[in-house]
Symmetry: C2
Subunit: 204 residues, 2 copies
């Protein structure tokens, strides 16, 4: 459609997740118009990321150092590990400022359809981290979908015999949502996991 290298760029952009042909074209023309210095910096960042970024030797989070920022932070609570699927989940949880322990990034979730079994995930590494007896609680924070739930079930079965406290993130109504728009599974979970506030009625 376009002259050689312009079409190449549109094709490359179109292979990125969530970018369709129209967006790829729009981005390509944006880059054609952009300052050459900006595009050079963008290209350099791409190469730098591939050269520098690897996985934290402890938790499997992405990092540019040997250990990630969380693992390298001496103020973090060593007795709690939160197990997540991906590095972006670490960032999501860090944003809540609720958790002061460390993480373990599995690198995905069990998915028979995609051919991902427990052996493809960093579960062996997790079990190794639990051997020194420092960790007393494991919080499982996999995604609340089919694959995440399967992974959580697998992990719970592996971890409970070790005598640790194993917990799972609460399922329920999203804050700021409308009851009316909650799907029945979420609403069902919210009922199951309901918290008792008081017992004024039974007392009466």
């Amino acid at each position: 459609m376009y002259d050689g290298v312009i079409q190449d760029l549109i094709d490359e952009l179109g292979q990125l997740p969530g970018i369709g042909p129209k967006s790829a074209q729009r981005i390509a023309f944006h880059l054609l118009d952009a300052d050459p210095e900006d595009v050079r910096r963008f290209a350099a960042t791409l190469l730098e990321v591939k050269a520098k970024v690897h996985f934290c030797s402890t938790c499997g989070n992405v990092t540019v150092d040997t250990e990630c920022r969380v693992c390298a932070d001496p103020r973090r609570d060593l007795s709690v590990i939160c197990v997540v699927e991906e590095s972006k989940d670490v960032v999501a949880i860090e944003r809540t400022r609720e958790f002061r322990g460390r993480y373990h990034v599995l690198g995905g979730a069990i998915s028979p359809i995609a051919g991902i079994g427990p052996d493809q995930l960093r579960i062996k590494e997790l079990l190794q981290r639990l051997q020194d007896g420092v960790v007393t609680e494991v919080i499982i924070a996999t995604d609340p979908n089919l694959e995440g739930e399967a992974t959580a079930t697998y992990l719970i079965r592996m971890l409970t015999p070790l005598g640790l406290r194993v917990s799972k993130l609460a399922s329920g109504l999203p804050v700021g949502g409308d009851l009316e728009y909650a799907d029945e599974l979420t609403l069902g979970r919210a009922f199951e996991g309901r918290t008792t506030i008081g017992n004024a009625i039974t007392r009466a």
Copy 2:
């Protein structure tokens, strides 16, 4: 949020048009997972595009040669020029396979809000192309929005004194659409520009 260069990449991606922070993060992690060779090729394409692509000396379309493919094609009709805003409009019109003339890319549209006046567009170059008397028709194919219409009005005022045939793309109902969902402006234009099919009723 993320370690240095990962956040840099997310920031760079987030500056592309139509890519929000969530998409930027998703694309960044896609690139982190991607084959290093693929990312190298992507970075090389970015640099190559900036190094090789420039504007066609005749029509202003993007090209890697001195002249674009349309202008260099000896089979194109030299007597008709279709004026468009951007290079992507050339591709859109080429896709219809309806037009056999050549193009003139203005490089934008008149937009007082964005500070773009006629002098910022390739209008001088268009007038120069019309001087040799080869061109007998100019088709104005600017976008059917406020800026495009303003540009069309300006061009019509400039070109009609030159004794050329000046035409404008038809406005009307989009093919495949529903009358019910057409906005009133489009429907109004479709009425204005209605084509007479026969005159059976007046004959009766």
